[in-house]
Amino acid sequence: MDFTSSFRDPKIVANLIQKIKKTITRPWVIMEICGGQTHAIMHYGLDQLLPPEIELVHGPGCPVCVTSLELVDKALAIAAHPDVIFTSYGDMLRVPGSKDDLFNLRARGASIQVVYSPLDAVQIAQANPDRQVVFFAIGFETTAPANLAALAQARALNLDNFTLLVSHVCVPPAMHAILGSPNNRVQGFLAAGHVCAVMGFWEYHPIAELYKIPITVTGFEPVDLLNGILLTLQALEKGEAAVQNAYPRVVTEHGNIHAQQLISTYFEPCDRNWRGIGMIPMSGWALRPEFSRFDAEKRFKVEHIQTHESEICISGQILQGIKKPNQCPAFGTICTPQNPLGATMVSSEGACAAYYRYARK
């Protein structure tokens, strides 16, 4: 079957919109966690089809946006090394560091290669035994198995010139941080479908209970997003803190256990700084000490980095659902995708870039 077009069926989209309109009795604020969902909502104009009572706010689920400035600066320091071939997912290249970005560094002659899959970075390491190949392992739970498969492959090949600069972050601690904040506005969550493909959604029951908030596992096509919104809305209207699954073709309660085993073999929980948001305790993953020889931060000794963030950028408040991109004075004026001041204007999944691209003024 065609899993894409079936979930864009205009007839079903119309049914869902109608049902949402019939169900709603008052305003609600719902946050989609994942930047991929933000992008899809804007791309399909779903925000403009929904009744005005539903306010969608955009969550922190864009790894490019939340990777700390310190790690971006470390990436720049490592990539500037003449022995290094630095490899990364493409979106990270334009993310502003304190003084520079990887794109400009590459233009000035550094070896920086964009890869589609981290396994490609392993091939680069295999082909260049006299160079150090570093992969910028950013991502949420979704990306961890892919990044770690690369590490497992490098180990199996006995490569000693392959390391990871790890910047992994996890969704549930960020949900706690958002819901526990005195400024919180979020009343319901669309949980990130592909994070849950790996991790399942068993972790969300205690969150829903603690904060009395409905959480719906949601996919990325228009039908998936509207179905996730409808289920969340029905729970909100009934006052139920339900955890529901609107993406059952991909997500099960317990996720992919084998992928979780791969993650726990290599990673352990750690505190992480989220760009714009700040430190969230135990909100990320770092390599276990027994794998420190694969840790680029250790190999290249980049502990002492001084960072300097733009003073204008309010991306932290945007990533927590407190403000919208168009409330930033720099939006579309001195901050554009061509000249981004903050990471949320870089990645196509960043809320600022999505607003700019789809002209939500």
């Binding site: 069926d9 079903i12 979106d91 949420f140 198995p145 990130a192 179905n227 996720g255």
Partner: protein, 77 residues
């Protein structure tokens, strides 16, 4: 970033190292790592992110979701 693309496993590649498969994405064939889908077979659908199969994709569940949502409009008004 957390983009996942549905595809169909058309060949499991034997060899040392990680378990790999050829996956058909609507006519485009790519090699995908299926290391953490140990029971995946030819003909199964999967959802792929950064060259890695995250989980299986259930055609049955997909059909069921669609039929519920299609009917939603028919019994109302």
């Amino acid at each position: 970033m957390c983009l996942g693309v549905p595809g169909k496993i058309i060949e499991i590649l034997e060899g040392p190292g990680l378990r790999m498969a050829n996956v058909d994405f609507g006519g485009v064939i790519r090699q995908v790592c299926i290391e953490t889908l140990p029971d995946a077979q030819v003909g199964d659908y999967t959802i792929v992110h950064a060259g890695y199969a995250l989980n299986k994709l259930s055609e049955e569940e997909a059909q069921e979701t669609l039929s519920i949502l299609r009917e939603m409009g028919e019994y109302e008004d």
